[in-house]
Amino acid sequence: MRLLTHNMLASNIKGVANGFPLKIEVGQVVEKHVDLNPEFLKNMFAKLDYKVLVEASKTMGYADLPEQAEPSMLESEDFLRKLNHALLELHLEEGALVCPETGRKFPVNKGIPNMLLHEDEV
């Protein structure tokens, strides 16, 4: 699971008011190369929750993203590379996503998060 996917998933348990962002528990992280696509990254930057990405990538062991970012930084190739790495190249292969409100764990196995709910959570 890439951190771009993490940036859109939320906990869907009944009664949870604020299920975003899910915390990450790392078992194993893998990296896969993705060619730099500056236009795509610019579009994404406008839409994603950057703070959540910074925290998530730190949890995954990558701390090079600046804490704060603004659109003008998208002109810098150095920043684009870091963004590309954090957003698309890091994968949570094993571990869990954790509901920020209830602490319920959604397991991630072979890169696939299981967000299915138990009967009493729907």
Binding site: N7, M8, L9, N37, G111, I112, N114, L116
Partner: protein, 210 residues
């Protein structure tokens, strides 16, 4: 990539080994899948460099077609772990990146507007009435920011249009073409070897966006 080439690649994919009747697991055939994604890309520019989601992705045919046509990030959602495993192997086989999430589309929780395009072949609702409209509603109201491509039985055309425009706030709902869908004889209650039904390929645009 040429249409024929895309269809050929999709034709080589592994399909459901033990289809589960309650989830309406029948594969979106290579003919339909290739035309669906080819049209989305070449007539509307909704695929390359986009973030694409495949709802009820099964063995991944539609999402993988999007990846082959240059989508930057593709996520497939399905309720069934066995199908997702086949889909992941299909992605490895094609050497493309596709992500997967196991979930029930009906209670998907979501943040933001990152997904541009949704492609889906929802359950037609023959097992559980309204299953197709559940998918459409989540796609249009919760997740997609630019467009939704979906297949629905031609016999339900008026109902689909009304539901999309009135209940799901779609800005537009357009039938792009009518296709023949072979539902193979996977299940005992299908008497004929193959049931060939007419389906519409729809393109919806959600509200408040482009």
């Amino acid at each position: 990539m040429k249409l024929k080439q895309l269809e050929g690649l999709l034709g080589s994919l592994e399909q459901f080994s033990n289809p589960k009747i309650e989830f309406e697991q029948y594969p979106t055939g290579p003919h339909i899948a290739s035309r669906m994604l080819y049209t989305a890309e070449n007539s509307f520019g909704d695929v390359s460099d986009k973030v694409v989601a495949d709802f009820g992705c099964g063995c991944g045919t539609l999402g993988l077609a999007a990846a082959l046509l240059g989508a930057e990030h593709v996520v497939g959602f399905d309720i069934d772990a066995d199908s997702l495993e086949i889909a992941r192997d299909n992605a490895d086989e094609l050497e493309v990146d596709m992500e997967f999430v196991q979930c029930d589309i009906r209670n998907l929780s979501w943040n933001g507007q990152i997904i541009n395009t949704i492609v889906m072949n929802p359950p037609f609702g023959t097992r559980r009435k309204g299953a197709d409209m559940d998918f459409l509603s989540v796609a249009l109201k919760v997740v997609a920011s630019e467009s939704v491509y979906s297949l629905h039985k031609t016999t339900t055309r008026d109902h689909v249009r009304r539901t999309a425009l009135r209940d799901c706030n779609a800005r537009s709902a357009e039938v792009i073409c009518e296709l023949r869908y072979d539902v193979p004889q996977l299940y005992k209650f299908h008497k004929k070897k193959e049931v060939d039904i007419a389906v519409d390929l729809w393109r919806f645009v959600p509200q408040g966006k482009q």
